[in-house]
Every structure is written in C-alpha cells, then in structure tokens.
Symmetry: C2
Subunit: 316 residues, 2 copies
Amino acid sequence: MNRALSIRSKSNSRSGPSSSSSHGRKAFSLASLRGTVQPELSKRLYRLIKSENNLIAAHEAAGKERVSIATQLSEWGEQTGDEAISDISDKVGVVLSEMGEQEDSYAHALDESRGVLKAIRNTEKSVQPSRDGKAKIADEIAKLKSKEPESTRLVVLEQELVRAEAENLVAEAQLTNVTRQKLKEAYTAEFLATIERAEKQVILAKHGLRLLQLLDDTPVVPGDSARQYVHGNQARQILNDAEDDLKDWRLDTGLLEGRGQQQDGGEHFVSTNTSPVRSPKTPALQHHNGNGVTGHEREATENGGGRSATGKEVEV
Amino acid sequence: MNRALSIRSKSNSRSGPSSSSSHGRKAFSLASLRGTVQPELSKRLYRLIKSENNLIAAHEAAGKERVSIATQLSEWGEQTGDEAISDISDKVGVVLSEMGEQEDSYAHALDESRGVLKAIRNTEKSVQPSRDGKAKIADEIAKLKSKEPESTRLVVLEQELVRAEAENLVAEAQLTNVTRQKLKEAYTAEFLATIERAEKQVILAKHGLRLLQLLDDTPVVPGDSARQYVHGNQARQILNDAEDDLKDWRLDTGLLEGRGQQQDGGEHFVSTNTSPVRSPKTPALQHHNGNGVTGHEREATENGGGRSATGKEVEV
C-alpha cells in the first residue's frame, strides 16, 4: 500500500516526551525556554496550541488582504473609465470581500476550537504533580528498603503510596475523559467550520464566475465606438442571487449522525457543537452598507449618466 | 435596499487617479516612494498585485501551519498512551495535513492568477507615454496659439498631434482588450481555484468528522479496565474513502458555460482556464509516504502489541 496511514515521523516512534530534545532546536531560544516551563506532560499540546495561533493569524491575514484587494479592484476598475470593467470589477469586488469575511469567520471558529484544546492542556498540567508525587514516594520506598529495610518509616510511606495511587487513579481517569471529549469537540468544530467556509465560498465563487461571464472580452478594433454596457441589471441580479444562496445555506446535520458503531458519541456531538455552526447570520454583502454608493446613485451611473468609456479618455 | 451593490468608498467617487494622495498615507514612507516610480495609470494595479502577494503568503503560511499542527497532533496523541486517542489523532492528522496541502495548492493557483494581472499592469505602463505624448502636443499647440497664432510650427504640431492620436487610439484599444481578457482570466482562475480548494476540503472535513465519531468519549470511572480500541480497521477504511473521493473529484465544467447573454466569452473561458484546474493530480495522503509508520507496523500497534493505556501510566 503506497499511501500514508500515519504522519508520525519514524525517528520518534514510541519514544514519548523525552524525544522532544531530538528536534534539533537550539537549546536557549526563547521559545524553548518558554516550553520548558511547561510540565513534561503538557509540553506537546502547549506547542500545538501555539501553532494553532499561527494558523488562526494566517487565516485572519488572508481575510483582511482579501477584503483590501476587493476594494482596490473596485477602485481600479472605476479608474479605467470602461463602463463594463467598472461595473464588473466593483461587483466582483463585493463577492471577493464577502469571501474575505468568510475567511475571517473561519479564523474565529478556529480560535474557539483552540480554546477547547486548552482544557486538555490544563488537565494535563494538573495531572503531572499527581504522577510526580506517586513516583517520588515509590522512589523513596525503594531507597529506604535497600538502606534501612527495617525502618518504621516504610509503613508510613507505603500508606502514603496507596493514597497517592488512589488520587492518581482518579486524575488519570479525569485526564482520559477530558482528553477524549475535548479532542472530539475541538476537531469536530474545526471540521464543521471548514465545511461552512468551503460551502459558502463555493456559493460566492460560482456567482463570481457568472459576473465575469458578463464581461465581453472579444477584441475591439482601434477607433470602434465604445460598446454599450448592457449587463448592469444582470450583474445586480447575480449579487441578489448570491445573497439569497448564502441566506439559504444550512449545515448538513447528517454530518453529525454517528456513522460508525459509536452511537454513544452522537449525542455529545450535537450538544457540544452548536456554537461553531451558529445561527445562519444574515450574511454577506450587508456589511458594505454605508461606505458604498447607494442603489440610486448606481442606477444613474449604470444608465451612462455623465460618463462613457471615450469620455474618460478625452479628459486625460 | 439595505444591501451593498458596490464596495467603493464614497470619498473616492469618480475622482480618478488624482485622489490617491488623499488616502492619508505619509509622503515619505518607503512604500509610497516605490509606488511613485510607477506611472500614474498602473499605480493602482501595481498596489493590488502587491496585496495579492500578501494574500498568497497568508494562504501559504496557513497551509504550512496546518501541516505542522497535523504532525504535532499525531505525536501528541501517541504520547498520551491511549490507544484510541493515538490512532484517531494520527489519522485526523493525516486528514488535516492534506487540508494543509490543499491550502498550499490554492496559494499557488492564486500566484498564477496574479501573474495574469501583471499583463494588464504592464500594458497600462506602456500606454501611459502614449497618453502623455498626445497631451503634451495638444498643450504645446494651445500655448503656441495664444502666444504666436501665426507660427508656422503650428502646422507641424497639428500633424504630430494627428499621428499621436492615431497611435494612442491603437494603444487604448490594446489596453481595453488586454484589460478585459486578463481580468476575466485572472479572476476566473481565482474563483475556480477557490471552488477546488473548498470542495476538496469539504471531502476531507467530512471524513475527518467520521474519524472523530469513532472516538468513544463516554466517561470512564477511576480504576476501570482500559477499554479496548476496536475501530482500527474502520479508521483505516475512512482514510481509504477520503483518498478515493479526492481522486474522483472533478471540476464541474458547467461552471464555465455562459449563463448570461455573453456567449462570446464562453469559448475564451474554456481555453484560458485549463491551467488552474489542472489534471486532478493523484491527490492526497500520498506525500506522507516514507516518513510515516508502515502499514504493517501500524497493524502491530493496533492489535495492542506491546502497549496499553495502563501500561504507559505505570512507566511514568
């Protein structure tokens, strides 16, 4: 089978936490010093949560750039003085801008999921002293047995060990429970957010393609009279369609029905994962209100009021 | 209508290139000095192309972080000593890693589209001298007419102006053609790439959700014997399904059929936009080969060879 069933690096197989020094990182970098403050048990997750932060920042940056590009595209298109380019670039800009907003929502959903992982890390942190305590007592007993096998302290220590073991048993069970529940919750949320972003961006991209198809790119001959742009109404209708489709979008709830034999998990899923899905917020396009040209003004422009492709060129 | 039909900022309406100084940017920042080197006509697109670069970098970073998180998740899961967590986290890691690869492919597609925009910018750059030349001659004629209306140079200048106008007419037609074609091509490619990334990530996320549903997160009681993990085969099958679904993925070619009345544009679309779609490369999961545990080794681990959830805890 020439396909990966695992992504673990081979060098690290089964060696546990002690292998972290083999990653070739410098001993005294700030990052590694910080990591060292974490108890051994929670180190890996501590780093993973930091990486999730970088991931979130990257998607946030992508969303921001997308929105900025959308405005730039619209303003560039206006400046070309070509009626068709001006209208299409502006409306494609609206679509791109909404894609950027979806990217930003995705980043926020990832951030919520990251918060859930922290619950595991915190439990790992709190279980470490329990493990350490148990090990320390066992150690003491072993030493004492070899040095002073008759010591009366041995009885006390054995009692302490039984108590420490009982306490640790509870701690480990808590760790198992929290780890499984929160891992499932965190990545279920990430996958659902991925689906939401993807499906909404597909809607937007499809309508974006429709807009571009309104742009007649058959070559003009020098001196041709400027072709009239007649697709203003169609272009506006496409934005309406995009808005309607986004409003109608729902998460396929079938995704959360147990498909394996793990029926137990099903209920937990549904209860813990309503937050990333959220109420389908009145979507899209609305946030542009106020900083755009009003519908009325656009109307005037579209009917050719006051400018034409040639008119612009004469001015220059 | 309380919805945006435009994303242009109001302050900038119809003022054209001259408004670029009103953006409140500092006069002597390095960025603005660089921008100044560009002819007026191509300045906006020059900046937009720079912003596209930031967008690409952001998606690249997101892809890289995603792949890194995937490995970290897998290695963290192994270290928990919980058989179920170990297997599920590893396979979820495979899915996340492939999602990261899709993000990276997306960044590359955006980069190709950015290259197409450069063709517009370069044409804009080359048209600027033609506009300037024409304007300069017209200016000279106007000055001369007011100062020496009888000058014989006027005849020569008028002839020069006719030539300059003819040359500019060609240049402007070229600009219109290149702008329309390349704008359509560039953003068609971006939208198609968006659809490809989205649809593939939906496939991956859905199988990721299936994996997580194999994780039994009903609470354990302290001292319970470790639950046997029995979903190894199912988990492996889910990765197989994900790979098959990715292989079967095709772009909906109906997306490129003209839906508006602009049938002319249809053919151009198909011809210019084969590159972002690419042949559906044998996808997914394959790049993990070699650095992962082999199928055989996994098999041994899955059958509980040599480790159990409790075994790990005793060691510590």
